[in-house]
Structures are given as structure tokens and as C-alpha cells.
Symmetry: C2
Subunit: 299 residues, 2 copies
């Protein structure tokens, strides 16, 4: 678990992102409930990142990337592809930085996420999630317009921005006198858990970082076992719309291999139950993809 300075994202990048984002993002609270502790059999704290601007950690990544663009780059505009959270994060960060944004979204993304993305001022291009390749559509826009692609997982500055949620959570837990023995992070393309893994490996080696995937999208689990990136069955479906990536993303995967201690999965039913418990006990609205770690823990 020694830090590797040749890696795409280092703990230093994440510390720098944290400084860069100060004042741009919210410090979201840690929540807990005594009955959840009783039920699980240990102290459990929740990072309420749905309270972040745009509703997810994706805003941290987009803001970190946009903050570092030159004026010339900003004038070209940005392109992103996303089922919803990265879309909203990039759209809002672009609006914040005065940059034009075009977002490629699946036509069956949650209507509220499409509407939100448009409301932030972005142009939305819809595609068929199961028969078209979003990266190709985005590449076409880049070619036509000269805009800069902001990848959700294969951009070091984006991944470093995501990881600031882990930096913040580890620091908050330390301040409460409750250093984390384990940290469960949702895993779609893998950028979030990879970044958190890199940071924890250097700053909180006692913390086992666990990736959690939807049961039928366990590509990272299988890929870790195989030592290479494997795809999900294209017929797989899940309510965790934020996590239905077809394959582990290229940049995060070696970071996950080095720093993530294990991969767990949760079924849609387990996720629905976790969302209900979060609603009733923690009083927060967790989206399915955000509840996957809690679901695995409860199960």
C-alpha cells in the first residue's frame, strides 16, 4: 500500500483538490442513528453527500476540472456523458465558471436528472443507453465543436475532485474520535472508490476501503479476481441508475487493484430497503446508487 508517485492520481492531487474546492463545494455532514449501530453491531457513520450542490459528489470532480481550465479552454466549452449525476455536476460547474456545456445522456435517465441538467443551462443530447455508445457521440461533438471532453472516470483531476469526499469524511470521523475501520463507497466506473482508496492508503491505512456494486453489475468484483477489466452482461438491469457502467473505467482500475480491500454487491431489493431506512431514520433522500453501501452493510 505504499504511495506510488507514478500513478495517475496521487494523495497530493487529492489534497490539492481539497484546497481548490474550498468555498466552491459544501462540507456535507456525517449522520448516524443509534438503532443502525445496534442493528449492525458497530458504530456506523454516513456521509450525507446527497446534500452536496447538484445532489452528488460528482460536482466535486467537475468543479476541480473546470477550476483548472485556462481562459482559452473555457471558451471552447465542455462535453460530458452521464446517466445523470456527472451531467448535473458538469452542467452546474460549467455555469459556475461561465463555460458552455453539452451533455450526452441516456433517454431513459431519471426525468428529474435530465430536467435538472437542462435547468443548469446545458444542452442535452439524448441517446439509447443499450444500443448506442455515448463516448462515440461525445467524441463526435468534440470533433465538430472543439469542446473539451470531461470524462467521468478517466480524468485525473475529476477523480481527485471526487476523492475529496473521502478526505473530508476521514477528517470528520477523526474529529469525532471515531477513525474509520472500513469505508464503503459506491462503484460504477470506479473513479470515486479509486480516489478514496488512494487517499486512504496514504492518510488512513487502518481504513479498509470497500467498493460496492449493484448485484448484476459486479464487473469490478470479477475484474479484480481476474486481474483484467471484464464487461457486464448487456442485458443486466438495476435501479441504481448511477452505477450501471458497462465495464470498469481504465484510469481507476489499477488504483482500485492497489488500494481497495474488497468488493461487495447489493441487490435492488436490498437497496430499496436501505433507502427506506435512510428515509425513516436518517431523514435523508438517498438515491439507489448512493444507498448501495448501506444496503450491503444491512444485508
Amino acid at each position: 500500500l505504499k504511495p506510488d508517485p507514478t500513478e495517475a492520481v496521487t494523495a497530493g492531487d487529492i489534497r490539492a483538490a481539497s484546497l481548490q474546492l474550498k468555498g466552491q463545494v459544501r462540507e456535507t455532514p456525517l449522520l448516524s442513528h443509534p438503532w443502525i449501530d445496534d442493528f449492525v453491531g458497530c458504530t456506523v457513520v454516513f456521509k450525507a453527500e446527497m446534500l452536496q450542490l447538484t445532489g452528488s459528489f460528482k460536482y466535486r470532480g467537475a468543479c476541480n476540472r473546470l477550476s483548472r481550465m485556462t481562459g482559452e479552454e473555457k471558451s471552447r466549452g465542455v462535453v460530458a456523458w452521464s446517466s445523470g449525476n456527472h451531467a448535473q455536476g458538469v452542467a452546474a460547474a460549467a455555469a459556475q465558471h461561465g463555460v458552455m456545456a453539452t451533455i450526452v445522456m441516456p433517454a431513459d435517465a431519471p426525468a428529474i436528472k435530465i430536467a435538472n441538467t437542462r435547468k443548469y443551462g446545458a444542452e442535452v443530447v439524448l441517446y439509447d443507453r443499450y444500443n448506442e455508445v455515448r463516448e462515440e457521440i461525445a467524441a463526435g461533438i468534440v470533433q465538430r465543436t472543439g469542446a473539451i471532453a470531461v470524462s467521468p472516470n478517466d480524468d485525473p483531476m475529476v477523480v481527485a475532485g471526487y476523492a475529496t469526499v473521502g478526505l473530508e469524511m476521514l477528517a470528520q470521523a477523526e474529529r469525532l474520535g471515531q477513525p474509520l475501520d472500513a469505508l464503503l463507497a459506491p462503484c460504477g466506473g470506479g473513479g470515486l472508490v479509486a480516489g478514496i482508496g488512494v487517499f486512504a492508503a496514504e492518510h488512513s491505512p487502518r481504513t479498509r476501503v470497500i467498493a460496492v456494486e449493484p448485484a448484476d453489475f459486479d464487473d469490478t468484483r470479477r475484474s479484480m479476481a481476474a486481474g483484467e477489466r471484464l464487461r457486464n452482461d448487456p442485458s443486466a438491469r438495476s435501479i441504481c441508475d448511477a452505477l450501471v457502467a458497462p465495464v470498469p473505467a481504465a484510469l481507476p482500475f489499477p488504483l482500485i487493484q492497489r488500494t481497495v480491500a474488497g468488493v461487495e454487491v447489493a441487490t435492488d431489493e436490498e437497496v430499496r430497503h436501505a433507502m427506506k431506512v435512510a428515509f425513516e431514520r436518517l431523514k435523508v433522500v438517498a438515491e439507489p446508487g448512493g444507498a448501495v453501501g448501506f444496503a450491503a452493510l444491512l444485508a
Copy 2:
């Protein structure tokens, strides 16, 4: 609006409560959403006090009261009456301080609030909200057992504890560079808004404190106009179970008369809409009584 040192609760009591409660209660976050600002036409911040321990500001009042009991007082146990939030607050604070608690609750209180109160270890005595007088039932228990009554509104230490949510909110808004021009607080018996009014009158005189009541429980509005405490129609009903007090409580009323700038009301339908917006935009689960201020603002 000059401070009156002869009053039941002073700004000094509230500052002392804030110090007393440090480490015992959560500092709950301020939330906001750009579309809510757009829709309302000004900057709006929300104090997410549903994220407080036990789910409401009532825990602050109970904790402040229990913290100041002697060992002898603690050994006698406490009695409280409440439709749910004060019940949970007192039950949890009692458990925290190793004190036995008996809570008198209406049989038609939300099942989750009754279950929660029992789960904190309190004994729950149910009564008929519309045909029995809870204060009489509680007085009987005090007489039989020697326990100490913790009133939800007529106890200065309880009201001072409640008001720390206002102190905290005003300080957070100042830190954001957004001092509050107005602060809307839910009003049932009136303890919360009275305490906030007293604090703001001294520490943030620019802030107009507004009480908000359910439409058919506008006893405080009518009482303010009449200059005396008037009752609600006993046949009135509202989904705001936390705010259906029959009459303004005695201790807070003169404080409200002196420090509260106005009273607004919200219908159940307006409250339902506000809860939905809070769910969708702010990602928090507001109970009806907690959403009444937002409901009045949106309406």
C-alpha cells in the same frame, strides 16, 4: 425590542444553553437550492434540523433541561407530554443522562414517533388527544411517583435549549455572508419561535422573526391580534401533528408578543407541496410541522 432582563428567558440563557449543549447536540447544516432562490425571488437557506439527534430541535430543549438537574432530581425521573418530538427528545436525553422517563402521548400520534420513544427506553402512556387533557395525566404521574415534569413550552431551560437552533442558524448565515432579513419558525405551543425571537432581538435586530402555524391552528395569530391567549376550535385538524397545540403556551406568549414580527399560516395542501419540494430539491425528509415555514414562503 430592547432586551428585558426580567423576562422568563433571556438571550444570556440561550448563549449559556449553547455552551452547555456543545458536544451533546449536532450542528445541523444550512441547505439551499438555486431554483428555490429563483422561485422565491431571494436567497433562502434552510436549517436542516431534522438531521438533529431524535429528528427535531426538541432534543436541544430536553438536553439543556436534563443537563442542569442535580443527582437527586435525576433519581426521581422525568415526565413529559407530547405528540412525538418532545417525547423523543426527552426520552433520548433521559437515556443519555441515565434518567427514567415516562411520556404521555396521544394514541393517534404517528406510530413511528411512539415506537421511537419506547425504543429510547421511556415508558409511554397513551391518551385520547381530543377528549383527555394530557397535562392532567402527567400531573397524576408526578403526584404518584415524584417525577419531575419537563414541560415542552413552559420551562425556561427547555425554551432556551430550543432557541440554540436559532443562535446556530444566525451564526451560520453570518459566516456565509448572508445575514438573515427574516427567519420563519414553526409555531405550535410557541416555545421555539419565542426563544428565537428573544435571541434575534438582541443579537440580530435586522432579522424579522415570523411564526408560522397550520391554517386551522392560528391561535397565536389571533392571540397576537387580541392581546390575549385564544384557543383553537377543538374540531380543527391538521397533518402538522407537531403543531396542533390547543392554545399558545403561557411562558412563550409574552416573549412572542414582544419579539415576533408577524404570524403566517399554511394549509395542509401547501405543507404537502413544500415537503415534496424539500424531498426532491433539498434531499431531506421534512415532517409536516417542520415544513410549515417553507410552505408559507412558497405560497
